[in-house]
């Protein structure tokens, strides 16, 4: 009897579990893109950046479709009228497409465009992020000397800078940027080498100090803001060599009027590459290009994201030749991009490591930490 009961129960349980299994909707796994796949090997027909070439403005503010990838990258620290901290990021990425030649459709496109819009709210320690894609067919996205846009997210050139308007629904930015310092050509007159091979380089220039003012909206309420922003412009075809796994990029506005940008390219062992570089801009706008051995960056504290990946968020940045010793720490930890591309981009405080006296503000970008399997300790 017991055996029968057991067999019957087992049979019923097996049937029920099979039936329950049938009721589960199939899950669709959303893939993620690796920036390295886009920035790595490019087909032959794309132009390579192989040496210095004069940049021509304002034309070079527009897109360079001969190159495989390109970006327009705003970051900035803001204060609202109550003195609360805010940070923002607006990035427009262009990745060249290989749409068949001779297409008659107006949808035929040269580029896939991706826009990232983020707002870090220091008061609530919230990170808002929005991502969009579009193609340049039908003029849904694009960049000319005067206008950079993806649908209604738009940057327009003004007399003394740019105006950004982007509404992501739950938050929005409406900011004016005034160019208060000359454009800085990174590397050798804008030729920024990032690897040993010819073509492992990008064209790179920055507007390091943009006086920013305007308003931001979180939810329904607009608040007035002002602060400093940074614009990076970069394009190339094969800029990252296979030996690199990611980078740590710092853009800091120091209170003494200097602007500092350093990036540390990391190899697969996590060691700094010799192609790491940077620039220190004096308050009069004079830029000094930094080589890898001109600066030291040292991670001193880490944050573990919900997926278990460790991100080095607190840093010591030292430029011994320039007497700079900076502690760079996040305003809050969770400023992690969790959309198609996983990276950390957030607003930072810069202080003196010894006295903790404030020295400035900035932005930190960390890439290549989520591609590895999560660390266990």
């Amino acid at each position: 009897m017991k055996l029968d009961l057991a067999v019957l129960t087992l049979l019923a349980a097996a049937l029920v579990s099979w039936l329950v299994g049938q009721t589960r909707p199939p899950q669709h796994a959303i893939g993620t893109i690796g920036l390295a796949t886009v920035l790595g090997d490019a087909p032959e027909h794309f132009r390579r950046v192989t040496g210095p070439e004069p940049l021509v403005f304002p034309d070079d503010h527009g897109a360079h479709p001969d190159y495989r990838s390109e970006w327009w990258y705003f970051t900035g620290n803001l204060d609202d009228d109550q003195g609360q901290r805010m940070g923002f990021q607006f990035t427009l990425f262009r990745f060249a497409l290989n749409q068949p030649q001779g297409a008659r459709s107006a949808w035929a496109s040269e580029g896939l465009w991706m826009a990232h819009l983020a707002l870090s709210d220091g008061r609530s320690q919230s990170f808002f992020q929005a991502e969009r894609f579009a193609r340049d067919g039908l003029a849904l996205a694009g960049a000319t000397a005067e206008r950079w846009w993806l649908r209604d997210w738009m940057v327009e050139a003004t007399e003394d800078g740019w105006h950004l308007y982007a509404d992501a629904g739950d938050f929005a930015l409406d900011l004016h940027f005034r160019l208060s310092r000359a454009l800085v050509l990174q590397g050798d007159a804008g030729y920024s080498r990032k690897g040993p091979e010819a073509g492992n380089a990008s064209r790179y220039y920055s507007a390091t100090r943009l006086a920013s003012s305007g308003r931001v909206r979180v939810g329904d309420a607009w608040v007035s803001v002002s602060g400093l922003a940074w614009l990076d412009r970069e394009w190339g075809s094969n800029q990252l060599s296979d030996t690199l796994s990611g980078w740590d990029w710092f853009a800091l506005h120091l209170d003494d009027g200097r602007d500092l940008m350093v990036y540390r390219l990391r190899d697969h062992e996590g060691q700094a590459s010799e192609w790491s570089a940077g620039a220190l801009v004096d308050s009069d706008g004079t830029a000094q290009i930094l080589r890898a051995d001109d600066f030291v960056t040292e991670a001193i504290d880490w944050w573990r994201d919900p997926d278990g990946h460790r991100w080095p968020l607190s840093w010591r940045v030292q430029l011994p030749d320039h007497g700079l010793d900076l502690l760079v720490e996040p305003i809050f930890e969770d400023q992690l991009w969790t959309r198609s591309v996983r990276y950390w981009e957030g607003m930072m405080d810069v202080t003196d490591p010894a006295s903790r006296a404030p020295l400035g503000r900035g932005y930190l970008e960390l890439s290549g930490y989520a591609e590895s399997s999560p660390s266990r300790h």
């Binding site: 009897m1 029968d4 019957l8 049979l11 019923a12 049937l15 029920v16 099979w18 039936l19 329950v20 049938q22 009721t23 909707p25 199939p26 899950q27 669709h28 796994a29 959303i30 893939g31 993620t32 893109i33 690796g34 796949t37 497409l97 290989n98 749409q99 068949p100 297409a103 008659r104 459709s105 107006a106 949808w107 035929a108 496109s109 896939l112 969009r132 894609f133 579009a134 193609r135 067919g137 039908l138 003029a139 849904l140 846009w149 649908r151 209604d152 308007y165 509404d167 198609s340």
Partner: protein, 809 residues
């Protein structure tokens, strides 16, 4: 309790065949109900599932009355401040090895799953390959293709090779669909500048409402689902009715088997009663047995039904695509709620079906160790309940005009047939017995007459199943003849012309009209109206008017009015759905607002369940500013050869193809035949379940009459003779059931053709009486009866007669 249950268990273990039959009956019934219920879900929900996959659940859709949206409108909307994520869609129908697939051109960067949802790396190849398509894994498997391979499709009369550039890991909404990039698709389809519609997430409804102007329309997911649901309402109602019938027959089986088990255990039960087991305890044990059997059988039935649903879906996929122009999902999506409801209902009905048995178990007197003959309790006369049901059925049929009322009425009448069939069957058997009294076969049949109650459910089930199959066959054949006549009459032109782009512009139409080989050209342009009905714009030469069969209105006046653009011709389904007749007015939505037109006449049409509103082509072009045609009918001049026309086609700049009248006709009939495959399949399932009922009833009979059979053996009947005896009985039962099925099928055919068809689909079918279903049913029933007798005959014949003869009664 335990000793009683142990007793049951021991008994069932000794008779695994009966256990299996009981399980089979309930399993089959539940499986058919589950299969059809899941299929219904697919028919309602999956038609719109692609929208969910592209723009998220409950997406809204921007449509234009013309069915085409200028892409400039999309570009404008998408770049306005605050614009939501809009997904442009261009739709085309293609065929792969004769199967209809939907080609959806999208902008992969705009879909809800985004370029990353395509697996990141898939976006670039999709955009980069001029013939690149993307499909989900289910569709890939179904088409037997591999990633990276090519897929040959037919597109508006030409062959195109598409390249499978990537596979989506699973978006069920995209079953049977090929995704292509908009730029490549517009070039392939030669439809640059055009979109079919625009999808937007549900949250964008309010914004879009403020932004779009007439003639663009915003349709919610609910509205689209409602129209998809109404599109297939008739089909679903018919499927449901069939599945309930299958279930009812399944209940007959469980009743028959449990009755059989009771008969076998009379001796045991009498002994148990004698040792003090109460009636209540006995009933509880029997009820427990029923619950366990029905519970387990129900679970197996749910599992089999889930598998069956996939097979049924295969049967309806093609008709849904051809008749309704919709692509169904590959897979069904069961829910726990649905499973639970079906299972509980099965349990409940199984208990209800054995209440009579529970009562009779209680009547077994303690200590009586033999059977009490059937005839000692003649049972209720079924005439009064039958009369009451017949009256109720007639009442329901006459007071309501809905399909549901018709189905309920029909069901009540089938119940009447089920109630009366056993009595009528027994009378037939008595008559047969009277005629052949002196022969062995007559005696065998006479023995059946003594087992009226035992045989009643099986006889009712078998008569109904046979009647249902034959009635359905008669309806389908009659309907097929009507459709064939209709198509034959409708097709007046010598040949029909379509273009690879899907549309034929005015200049091409005019050129063809000027060719000396062409006597006249008719043309048609079709568009969907919001409620699923269609607007057809006709340019009709005199010869084409012969194609209409008028059901109401004066044909001559209708023609004059139509030519002058004064009114519309409506199809019978439209007239029925909207209760319209000649002289009424009908409102037609146009880009410049709705206009009222007179109904001139009603014509017979089997092309659209939701109905057709036909207007003159010139009026249409004025109202809709759409000079295109979907197809042309070419009437050749006297003496002109088709070859000459074919040569002329080379002159045209567009790729066109010709379809002969005969081809159109055979395609239509092929679609018709596919549409009814599922009905055949369900009828077959019902008949199979009825057979199980028959076998179990005969087994019960064999056991109950064990002593009689033993006497026959003792009197010198050989084992082979006994097998013949039992097979004669089953054959006779099947023959009687077949005879009873004749009036049942006739009634069913009439009800389906004259009441259900008009209510389900809106069209009437001229009544006809195809006889071959009957001619086929009779020999088939005899064969089935003989085969069904073999197992009981074998069981009975191999039993040793001596112990049976020694038993007390």
């Amino acid at each position: 309790m335990n000793p009683l249950l142990q007793n049951s268990r021991r008994f069932l273990r000794q008779h695994p065949g009966q256990l299996l039959l009981a399980l089979l009956g309930i399993t089959a019934g539940v499986a058919v109900v589950t299969g059809v219920a899941l299929l219904r879900d697919v028919l309602i929900h999956s038609l719109d599932a692609a929208a969910d996959a592209l723009a998220g659940s409950d997406s809204v859709r921007i449509e234009a009355p013309s069915g085409r949206i200028d892409e400039a409108i999309f570009a404008d909307l998408a770049t306005r401040p605050g614009a939501p994520d809009l997904v442009p869609v261009l739709r085309a129908t293609v065929r792969h090895r004769g199967e209809r697939l939907e080609l959806l051109a999208i902008d992969p960067l705009a879909t809800a799953f985004g370029p990353m949802g395509l697996g990141g790396a898939a976006t670039a190849p999709l955009l980069g390959s001029a013939r690149g398509v993307l499909l989900n894994r289910t569709t890939l498997k179904r088409l037997g293709a591999d990633p990276g391979s090519t897929l040959e499709i037919r597109l508006a009369g030409r062959s195109v090779e598409l390249e499978i550039v990537a596979v989506l890991e699973d978006l069920p909404g995209l079953d049977q669909r090929l995704l292509m990039d908009m730029a490549n698709a517009q070039d392939l389809l030669d439809r640059a500048g055009e979109l079919s519609w625009i999808e937007a997430p549900a949250s964008a409804a309010a914004w879009l409402d403020r932004q779009i102007d007439a003639p663009l329309l915003l349709r919610s997911a609910g509205e689209r689902r409602a129209s998809a649901a109404s599109l297939t309402a008739g089909m679903r109602a018919n499927l449901t009715a069939m599945s309930l019938l299958a279930f009812a027959v399944g209940l007959f089986v469980i009743h028959a088997v449990l009755a059989f088990l009771l008969v076998q255990r009379r001796r045991q039960i009498a002994m148990l009663r004698a040792v003090g087991v109460t009636v209540g305890q006995l009933r509880l044990v029997l009820a427990t047995e029923t619950v366990i059997l029905a519970g387990l059988g129900g679970l197996i039935g749910l599992a089999l039904g889930t598998i069956l649903a996939d097979q049924l879906l295969e049967l309806v996929r093609a008709p849904i695509a051809e008749v309704y122009g919709q692509v169904t999902a590959r897979g069904i999506q069961p829910s726990l709620g649905l499973y639970l409801v079906i299972w509980l209902i099965a349990l409940l009905l199984a208990l209800v079906s054995v209440t009579g048995l529970l009562a009779s178990a209680g009547r077994i007197p303690p200590g009586v160790l033999g059977r009490t003959p059937d005839q000692s309790r003649p049972g209720l006369r079924p005439y009064w309940p039958a009369l009451a049901l017949a009256l109720a059925g007639t009442l329901v049929l006459s007071i309501g005009s809905s399909l549901e009322a018709a189905l309920v009425g029909l069901f009540l009448w089938l119940c009447v047939a089920a109630l009366l069939a056993p009595g009528a069957g027994m009378r037939l058997l008595s008559a047969w017995h009277a005629v052949r009294r002196r022969q062995l076969s007559g005696r065998a049949i006479g023995m059946l007459g003594q087992a009226r109650l035992r045989l009643a459910p099986a006889l009712a089930a078998l008569s109904l199943a046979l009647g249902l199959s034959a009635g359905l066959a008669m309806m389908v054949l009659g309907f097929r003849g009507a459709v064939d006549d209709w198509v034959d009459r409708l097709l007046r032109a010598d040949t029909y012309l379509t273009a690879s782009t899907g549309i034929i512009d005015e200049a091409v139409t005019a050129r063809i009209n000027d060719w000396p080989e062409i006597r006249a050209v008719s043309s048609a342009r079709q568009r969907e109206l919001g409620d699923g009905s269609r607007l057809l714009a006709f340019d009709l030469p005199a010869a084409a008017w012969e194609g209409f069969e008028w059901l109401a209105g004066d044909p001559e006046q209708a023609r004059v009015g139509f030519d002058q653009g004064r009114g519309v011709l409506i199809s019978e389904p439209l007239a029925r759905h909207r209760a319209l007749k000649p002289g009424d007015t009908v409102s037609l939505p146009t880009p410049s607002g709705p206009i009222d037109l007179d109904v001139l006449a009603v014509y017979r049409d089997y092309g659209s369940e939701r109905g057709v509103l036909a207007i003159d082509g010139r009026l249409y072009r004025d109202l809709f500013d759409d000079p295109a045609r979907d197809s042309l009918g070419l009437y050749l001049a006297a003496g002109a050869e088709l070859e000459a026309v074919l040569a002329r086609l080379e002159e045209l700049e567009i790729t066109v193809s010709l379809t002969s009248r005969e081809q159109v006709r055979s395609q239509t009939m092929a679609i018709f035949d596919r549409t009814f495959r599922i009905s055949w399949a369900l009828a077959l399932l019902v008949a199979l379940i009825a057979l199980v009922a028959l076998v179990s009833a005969l087994l019960a009979l064999g056991l109950e009459r064990g002593r009689d059979y033993a006497s026959l053996r003792a009197l010198g009947l050989t084992r082979a003779g006994l097998v013949g005896w039992v097979v004669t009985q089953t054959t006779a039962l099947a023959a009687v059931a077949a005879l009873l099925a004749v009036p049942i099928s006739l009634a069913l055919h009439s009800a389906l053709s004259l009441i259900i068809q008009p209510r389900a689909f809106g069209w009437s079918v001229p009544f006809s009486l195809p006889l071959w279903p009957w001619l086929l049913m009779l020999p088939l029933a005899l064969l089935i009866g003989a085969l069904a007798g073999l197992y009981p005959a074998w069981t009975i014949a191999r039993r040793d007669p001596a112990p049976l003869l020694r038993s007390r009664s």
